[in-house]
Each structure stands twice: as C-alpha cells, then as structure tokens.
Amino acid sequence: MVFIPHTPDEKQSMLDALGLQTEDQLFHMIPAQLQNPAIEFPPALTELEISEVMNDAAANNPASQCVSFLGGGAYAHFIPQAVSAIISRGDFSTAYTPYQPEVSQGTLQAIFEFQTMISRLTGMDACNAGVYDGASALAEGALMACRAVRKDVVLVSSSVNPHYRRVLQTYLDGPGIEVIEVPAADGATDVNALKEALSDKVAAFFVQYPNYYGVVEPLEDIAAALQDSKALLGVSANPHALGVLKTPGALGADIVTGDLQPLGISLSYGGPYAGYVACTEKYIRQLPGRLVGQTKDEDGKTGYVLTLQTREQHIRRAKATSNICTNQALCALAATVYLALMGPKGLRDAATLSVKKAHALQQALCEIEGVSLEYSQPFFHEFALRLPVPARQFIEAAKQRGLLPGIAIQDDAKLLLVCATELTKTSDIDLYKTILTEALQPTVA
C-alpha cells in the first residue's frame, strides 16, 4: 500500500458499490489454478531503507570515480546544471506522448525546436523526434534507405562502432536485408574497396563521422565515390563533433543518424540515451518514429501537432515505417535544453577543447618509447594508440591506480582506443603519462 490513497472505509464502500464482499472477487474471471502464485521476494523497504541499499550499490561502482579516458560511443561531457533542473520539472517528466495537442504544446514545441536544431547541426532538412539510441538510429536509417530506394543490400564501413554494426545486423536480419562490410585502410573507409562493393542492388552506404577510431572520415571523397551509383550516403554522426566539423549534409549525406548522449545526457551505464534520424526533404515520409509539425489553430494562432502519423504503427500497423511508440522524448528534451544553453559558441568551445585535449594527450603519450599513434588520419577526440604490450595488460595495471585508460580494440591486441573531452584536465594527462611510462618500464630485479 505504498502509494495507494484509499482508506479502508473507502475501499469497502467501493467494493460494496460493486456488490463484492472481498477484493479477491475482483479477479473471478481468472481461472483458479492461475491465481495466487507463490512469489519469493525480499520484504518491502521504506524510503530510508531503499536509499541505503542504493547508496551501497552506487558505492560499489568504482569506475564512476576513476580518471577516465573511455569513449567508444558514450562520452563524459560538461553538462550545465540547468539541464537537469528543467527536465526534472514534473510538467515535462510526468507527461506522456502528446496525443492531445491542446494540452501538450510544451512537449510538442520542444520537439519542434529539437527537430530544427538537429536538422541544422547535421545539414539536413528534417529530423524525427528521436529513437532509442545511436545504434538503433543507424539501423532505422538503414531500413529507411532500403524502403526509400526499394533495394535490399546495405554497405557499412568496418570503421563503424562494432556495437552499432552488431545492432545493424540484428535489425536488418529481420526483413532479410544483406549487410556487407567495406574494409577500412589506415583507420578510415577504403574508398576503392567501397567502389568495388557498389552494385545496383545497394540501397545505401553507412559510415560513422568521426568513426570508431576517432578518425574524421573523408565524407566528400565517399560521396564522390557514390555519385555514379544510386546508393544513398548514410552518416552516423556524433552531434557534439558537429560543433566544429563540416555538416554531413554539406558533404553529400542523404540520411544522418546518431546518438544524442554527448549533448547533455549522463553516462548512466549505457542508457537511457536517445538517437536521432535526419534526412533530406526527399525522404521525409520514410522517416521512422514521430514527427512534430507547426500549424495554426481555429483562431489562427501558431501551434504544434504530431504529424504525418499515417506512417506510424497505430495507423499503418503492419505497414508502418517503424514500430516505435514510447521513444526517448525526455532525453531528446535534455539535448534540446543543452544546445539552447550552450549556444553556438558553447558547443563550438566544448568541441574545440575536446579536440585540443585529445591531441595534447596523444602527443604526451607518444613521447613514451614504443607508444605510437596507429593511424595517420585527422582525428576528433578519440584515437587508436599502439602499445608495445597487450592493451588488456595495461588496462588491468592502470585501473589498480584509479585510471581507466581506454578500450581494448578487438582487431589487434596491442591497440587501445583513448578518448579525451573538455573535462580532461592537464593533471589527468600527466597522470596517464606517468602510469603508462611506469607500466612499460622493465621491472627492476
């Protein structure tokens, strides 16, 4: 009875009104043998007790307190305090999908502003109201491309985040779409290999920007390689990086997807995050998920509604563009508030500082003998570092000292994926260098 308001008298009078003697009679239609299952559960806790349980568990996550250089699809960035203050307002957090637009203008207008900001950042004409995360956004983008051009082969660069590629495979396996990986050379898409992989069956090529190794892919060359084919160019872009990088739209992308986590959303061990799918005008009706449109009310006042709903599951059912119902609206709102607070200068500063810190870190580490930068490509805030020892071995040694030095890259045991952001301090870089130097020193007998 933790949050139930009824007094015993009220409950009794309600049962009386229904002509029932006991609450069990409410369930008379459930076959008797199905009722009263034995459920083993720990006893209920008070707010005070559960707080203790959760505080203990939180303290049992030492990674949350380490000096961290982890990236690989989730990034620790500065988040202005006002973001959480705004998204935790009950008026936003305890409303649902804006089915009744007259009493949901707040959510609707915020989504419209979100759609506008992401469209502009990516250089696209439209953006949906969000999907689950960056990986599912890429997968939905690929499904969308196949619908749009009625073909069933998707090419993906092997420099795309391996988690994203796995999710892409899971999603495209359903409708029987073939996924073919295009190899990378020196950490970026091999444009010649891409040209060879093209055929008239290919719906789209998907690449990540910056890619899994932090490399800023040559989108212009890739777009040029696709020019003579009918294949669309799909780009999974880190929106934070778009604070300084050329927009994928300006470089020829047709569909841009990505994860909004770097825009004001906390790490939270992988979620909730939110993904976005944006596109050029031509493909708007193929966008998965919700869209908000601006319109007028009966009196001519500007207002907002969910629109183009005939693409959606509640109307088109088996023929819908996606099955998305509950999405990640509050996370998309967090990204909107973040972008509004940071503004063009704030986002640019954060992205610029991320680049600078990552490069300073890379230079410092490559001064150590035997340590080198793996790829000779421009990188944003992440890079692949070659170590003279297995990466796992170094990770184990470093974490004993409160440092999470990066992610072991699967392709090669000696490669480490290292990330810095505007939050990285000079003292963190010094600490990393010290620990790596010591880890590589031959033990003195």
């Binding site: 139930i4 409950k11 459930i30 559960f41 303290a59 996550n61 307002r89 869209l291």
Partner: protein
C-alpha cells in the same frame, strides 16, 4: 490548471549576442593546426543564442503548456499514467550510477550489474518465466526482441514459419513488430465477449504460424478467460505464445503469464513499475522467456558467478545485440527501487486497486456512456459514443476536448480500432476515490451540456492556450523545422 499563453520559439528569441562562455579559455594550439581546414566548418553551428535566464524561462513556460500526471487526473488507457515516486528518480541518479561509463570493465561496475541481475530475478518471479533480459529499451523494442527470439527458435527447429497472428484488438506495435522481423501478419477476430474468437483462431492456426501475440488483459481491459485453451491450441499447432506485457499492471502479483502458457513476454517497466513517461519516454521493456528460448537471448547477458557479475557477449545462438550497450539502465534502476519498496504484497495491492478503481469508475459512468462490452473489466475499460440516436454528433474526440476544458486529461480515443468512437479509460491505482467521484460528476455535466448545446460542445476546447489545431494542413504541407528568419 493555468496554461501559459503563446511562447515564441528559441530561434525567435535568439539575439545577435556572442553568447556565453561556458568553459575556461585555453591558450593551446589553434584548431586548424590540429585538424585539416577542409574538415572544419567555417561557420558557427546554426543554434539560437539565448541567455541562461531566458532559456530557463522559455522551457518553464513551455512546461506550463503541458498537462502532466502531477497536475491532474490522466486516465489515458493503455498508457498507465500513475504517480511516479520521486525517490525512484533521485536514487537512480546518484553519481555512482549516473557517472558510470558503459565501457568500464564489469569488475568496476559490480553495483549496477548486481541490481540489474536482481531485478531480472524479480521479474522472472512475477512473470513466471525462466530467464529475463533487461536489454530492450521500450515495450515495442521488447516485442522486437521477443519476435526475433520466436524466429530464431523456429529456425533452429528447421522450420520456416512465416506468419504471426495478431488479434484485431491488438496495439499497433504488435503487427508493426511482426512485420519488422519479416513476418506476414494475420488478424484474429474478437468475439461478442471482446475476447479472442477461439474458432477463428483455430481456423488460422497451421504449420506456417510462428506465434500468436496476445495482451492479457486485452486492450478492451478484459481478461482472456480461455487463456489455457488458447495456449493449448497454439502449442498444438507448433506455434509459440507471445505476451504483450503492457497490461501486466492489472495482474502483477495475482497471476503470471508464465503459468498461463506464454513462451515469451515483454514487460513495460514504465507502466507497471512506474517511471516518468517523459513526454513519450524513456521506458524499458525487459523480455522474459521459458527455458526453450534461453539460448537465443540478446547479448550481452549478465552472468552471476557466485555474486561476481560479468557481461557475456559469447552466446552462439543469440539473436544478437539490440542497442549500443545494455538498454535503459537508468530506467531499470528506477523500477528496481519501486519494486523493492513494494515487495510482492505491495505489487499485488497495486493490481487490486488498479482493478478496483477501474471497475468502480466504469460503474459510476455506466448510465452516462455505455461500455463496448458488458463484462467485468480489469484495469481499464472501453466506452463508446457510437450510438448516434443518443449522442448525435458528440463523438469521442469532442468528449476528449470537453474534458480538457474541465482540467482533466482525455482518455485514449479511437483505440482499440475495433470499437467505434472508443474512449479507453484507465484510472490506475494511485487515484483516490474522491478523484474518481469528481471525474464521474464532471462527465455527467459534460454529457448534459452536450445535449443542451451540441454546437458548443463540438467546438471545445475553449480554455486552452491553443484551440483545435489544423492537422490536415500540417500533414499536407509539413513544417517540421523553424523556417530561417530573415
């Protein structure tokens, strides 16, 4: 509820100001010394420039143009808008959880992994399933996972069954999901009692049917009392039974889908175990399976080796990975807090009161608006305004807008699709008797007014900051982004 007047967009509020500096200035190398200029955008990102106070005011004003569970009664059927305890939010946001990177080694994240494993156990108990994964990010994402499991199972048996049966009363996500997974869908009719028509079901079951997707209680709020027979005929045909657990909140702690014969279930944590709905999410949609489907569960799996937790990506028959990392961990933690505060008994009491409230409210409304089906409902019920003789042109949408004028959120309208002029009402267990009585009185008032002045009633709402919006033009000439301002 006072809803604020017009608020310009952020772009309209933008000034020519330079904007605020959020980060310490840095005297290091110039950007173009680190990245080739052809990579760099010469222009600033195209975002509005608005001072912090004005941003805060803007979003505060927008928020006040929203109806939410904390401002009033929100009987939106199937969406389960109940109270979300504040403590769930605050504990899930402790820095030890919020700052935990998903790529951190498992041995450095034992606190969170342990809770995720615990909640899987609880959900196994409550659903009567053998194994639960918390990876799916929402109900529909859980359906997607579940149908992939169904397909992987059949393929492993050497069968290429290509059809999924879906009742005509089902939520739209069910057929959409089946199609996404590559299945043909076939509708099963409902009978006069609002339940699955067994004869129609039997006539459609054959060697090509992979599964039946079922919500129980169904979307009419009715318990499928023939569920054991349904399970039998489905299994006899070699098909699997899928449980859409969006409505588990009616029976949690009372009965279990696993005992009814379901092979795979998804559970909408955001409905039964309370998480803020956030204007449309996030939620979480854990999936539970019986033992024969365990080998196909998505990766990564959490392994518990005597209280030491690890993430396993090496599952040979797995359907693969569903999201970048492990789903909506933060939402799973909220549900964990909620479940621990209730215990099994408390969860059962929630179901009892959800059903009691719905049954009572339907009883209070019975002389005003007829129910589609005259049977004892569970946590929600569906009324209909289709009787033209009685209601004239006063339809479900008009009813919804009149309720809005009285300070209530509307019920779900025009769903399920099989009911004409449907009003689907779900009060939830956290509403008091007094709220329900007041609501019933307001409905009586609306119905009387609609009769007295039909023209006026048809043009509601009158009190909201915007009135009825032109959805037709919005769809014909979509304006999806702010046009550039000159």
């Amino acid at each position: 509820m006072p809803l604020d007047a017009f608020e310009p967009t952020l772009f309209e509020l933008s000034s020519e100001n330079e904007g605020r500096s959020w980060l310490p200035q840095d005297d290091g190398a110039e950007l173009d010394a680190l990245l080739p200029t052809q990579c760099l955008n010469a222009d600033m990102p195209s975002l509005p420039i608005v001072a912090e106070l004005d941003v805060v005011r803007h979003f505060t004003k927008l928020s006040r143009r929203n109806f939410c569970i904390e401002s009033g009664f929100y009987p939106l059927g199937s969406c389960t808008m109940k109270y979300n305890p504040k403590i769930c939010d605050s504990l899930a946001s402790l820095p030890g959880f919020a700052n935990l990177h998903p790529q951190a080694d498992a041995d450095m994240a034992q606190g969170t992994l342990g809770l995720m494993d615990d909640i899987s156990d609880f959900l196994e108990q409550l659903s009567g399933m053998d194994k639960v994964t918390t990876n799916p990010c929402a109900g529909a994402h859980g359906e997607f996972c579940g149908m992939l499991l169904v397909r992987a199972y059949h393929r492993d048996q050497g069968s290429d069954r290509d059809t999924v049966l879906v009742p005509d009363s089902a939520h739209g996500t069910n057929p959409a999901t089946a199609a996404m997974v590559g299945y043909k869908t076939l509708e099963v009719k409902s009978n006069a009692e609002g339940c699955v028509d067994l004869d129609d079901l039997k006539s459609k079951l054959n060697d090509n049917v992979a599964a039946l997707m079922l919500t129980n209680p169904n979307t009419l709020g009715l318990f499928e009392k023939d569920i054991l027979e349904i399970a039998k005929v489905v299994h006899d045909a070699g098909a699997l039974l899928y449980y859409d657990g969006a409505n588990l909140n009616a029976i949690a702690g009372v009965a279990r889908p696993g005992d009814m014969g379901f092979d795979v279930v998804h559970i909408n944590l955001h409905k039964t175990f309370s998480t803020p709905h956030g204007g449309g999410g996030p939620g979480a949609g854990p999936v539970g399976v019986k033992s024969h489907l365990v080998p196909y569960l998505p990766i990564p799996l959490i392994e518990n080796n005597g209280g030491k937790y690890a993430l396993n990506y090496e599952s040979k028959k797995s359907i693969g990975q569903l999201s970048t990392f492990f789903g909506n961990t933060g939402i799973v933690l909220r549900a964990y807090v909620y479940m621990r505060m209730h215990g099994a008994g408390g969860i059962r009491q929630n179901s009892v009161h959800a059903v009691l409230n719905a049954r009572y409210l339907k009883y209070k409304l019975k002389d005003l608006i007829p129910a589609e089906i005259d049977a004892d409902n569970m946590h929600e019920f569906v009324l209909t305004l289709k009787d033209k003789k009685r209601f004239g042109d006063f339809n479900a949408m008009a009813f919804a807008k009149n309720l809005i004028d009285r300070g209530y959120h509307a019920p779900t309208v025009y769903f399920p699709l099989i009911v004409k002029e449907a009003l689907m009402i779900e009060p939830t267990e956290t509403e008091s008797k007094r709220t329900l009585d007041e609501f019933a009185a307001v409905v009586a008032d609306i119905m009387a007014e609609a009769k007295a002045d039909p023209e006026k009633a048809l043009h509601a709402p009158y009190t909201t900051p915007v009135r009825k919006l032109d959805e037709v033009t919005a769809a014909r000439q979509p304006v999806l982004t702010q046009p550039c301002l000159e």
